[in-house]
């Protein structure tokens, strides 16, 4: 299978992006360096090409009812132009995907899903389809650019007459004119910083990207997938395939804020309700390394010689300068301060369970 290129591929070459195969997409893992790009987003602003993300449109008179049954969050409480984060679960409570729901109206929604899951999600939606609902995969119709960082609003405002301040977190405006091109702009992101995501026609992507780069001047730099991952993890944002999977439920991952067990029946509800009532066998914890070493996904977690779980993600957090990780472990050990060990290349390295030690821009 040949690799897919996003509409911004030529721009990545121009800015000397180091192109890698990312789930079948040719995308830049970095330009000048992951740490530099990470810091730029925390201090000023970074520009990301996330056009590989999938967009699935759900329309029809029964669209709201349909999504309310397929998703764990409460769609009925959404206003037009609002966005919510939700899971789509299997009957056993495992996660098909985590996604953003953009609501245009009661009969028109856009689901923004993980690139690697587009086909699986579309099939799942179609398998559960009801009358009065239509599903369309629009992934090829959209380029997606994310501008993230404390200066994101100032910079983007220089490119448009639309009032960006009016776009509150988790809302969108579908008629923002940037460089003469019509864009949907939402105040969302995956970095732990303020910022926007810009959905636009593939043919307009380069023009809009370059306009933002030019208006941003010294205050903005392109940022690659490497920084995207270190930023999301440092801010403790979950990644599908690591913190949540078909085998890890949202409650095990402690993401119950997007699971509304008090709404009407939805796929996975029975199992999730039981998990909530009867407690769960394993939970996701934050930990910090005490000994030397960087925790990595799939390293084993031990306690007194017994394996009690696995690391889901870990890194040397560039902003916090700490070796931090997330691990799914047996619930009985989920206590703040609990000493645990991470098995790094056959050696047991000391760590301890912590809380609220990841990046939070309001607190830090």
């Amino acid at each position: 299978m040949s690799l897919k290129k996003t509409p911004l591929y030529d721009v990545h070459l121009k800015y000397k992006g180091k192109i890698v195969d990312y789930g079948g997409w040719e995308l830049p893992v970095q330009y000048e360096g992951i740490k530099k790009e990470h810091n730029m987003v925390r201090e000023k602003a970074g520009l990301f090409d996330v056009s590989h993300m999938g967009e699935i449109e759900v329309t029809g008179e029964n669209a709201s009812q349909f999504l309310q049954y397929l998703l764990t969050n409460d769609i009925s409480k959404m206003s037009d132009n609002q966005i919510i984060y939700s899971f789509m679960c299997y009957p056993h409570g495992g996660v098909v995907d985590d996604l953003l729901v953009y609501k245009y109206s009661n009969t028109h929604y856009l689901l923004v899903v993980n690139a690697a899951n587009v086909d699986k999600d579309r099939e799942w939606l179609e398998d559960n389809l009801i009358e009065g609902v239509e599903i369309k995969n629009l992934s090829d119709d959209y380029a997606l650019i994310a501008i993230q960082g404390p200066l994101a609003e100032d910079i983007l405002q220089k490119t448009t007459t639309a009032d960006l301040q009016a776009i509150k977190p988790f809302t969108f405006n579908q008629a923002v004119n940037i460089a003469g091109k019509n864009c949907l702009v939402s105040r969302t992101g995956y970095t732990g910083e303020d910022g926007f995501e810009i959905y636009l026609a593939p043919d307009d992507a380069i023009l809009v990207w370059e306009d933002i780069m030019q208006k941003g001047g010294e205050d903005i730099k392109p940022a690659g997938l490497g920084a995207r991952d270190s930023l999301r993890l440092e801010a403790k944002l979950p990644l599908y395939g690591q913190e949540i999977t078909a085998d890890i439920t949202p409650l095990e991952a402690k993401l119950g804020f997007a699971v509304k067990l008090d709404k009407d029946d939805f796929i996975g509800k029975a199992v999730l309700l039981k998990q909530k009532e009867n407690n769960i066998a394993r939970t996701l914890v934050e930990f910090e390394m005490i000994g030397k070493g960087i925790p990595r996904s799939q390293y084993e977690v031990a306690k007194d010689g017994e394996i009690i779980g696995l690391v889901t993600s870990g890194l040397l957090a560039p902003t916090l300068q700490k070796n931090l990780g997330l691990a799914l472990i047996k619930k009985e050990f989920d206590k703040v301060g609990e000493p645990i060990e991470i098995i790094i290349r056959g050696k047991s390295v000391n760590a301890r369970i912590v809380e609220n030690s990841f990046y939070n821009r309001k607190k830090n």
């Binding site: 180091k18 360096g33 992951i34 490497g226 270190s230 030397k292 960087i294 040397l316 560039p318 290349r345």
Partner: protein, 129 residues
């Protein structure tokens, strides 16, 4: 890419610089560029006997974990502890900052390593793939 002429190179992107009966060991410019920001170095154990191509150390970038293999057999005579606090030195100048010094016990092993010209050709081929 920088590839000094007076070094020997491996397919795993290590270099060695021979001085009498010992060899300085490091990673190449190609390696550091492709790894990206290096954030952690696990140095070899001092005084142990290692075999050619045995994994003896680890270099970690933000994204990846890479093993360092012994280019020759010998004893680890010295490790560069400076890298523990400043792993980024491997990005800044991979040839001025060695990882360890190994005793050169068997000169004939050098025949199995690449010259600078051969290594450049090897990397050019990798980039084409």
């Amino acid at each position: 890419m920088n590839t000094p002429d007076d070094l020997f190179y491996t397919q795993n992107h290590e270099w060695i610089k021979v001085e009498d009966d010992k060899a300085y060991l490091g990673i190449t410019d190609y390696a550091q560029y492709n790894l990206g920001d290096i954030v952690f170095v696990e140095l070899p154990e001092l005084d142990i006997q290692v075999e050619m191509e045995e994994a003896i150390a680890v270099v970690e970038s933000v994204k990846a974990v890479s093993s360092i293999y012994a280019p020759i057999s010998g004893t680890i005579l010295e490790v560069n502890e400076e890298l523990e606090d400043a792993p980024e030195l491997l990005n800044e100048d991979p040839y001025e900052n060695h990882i360890a010094i190994i005793s050169l016990d068997d000169d004939s092993e050098l025949d199995e390593l690449m010259s600078a010209t051969d290594y450049d050709a090897y990397c050019a081929k990798l980039d084409k793939e």
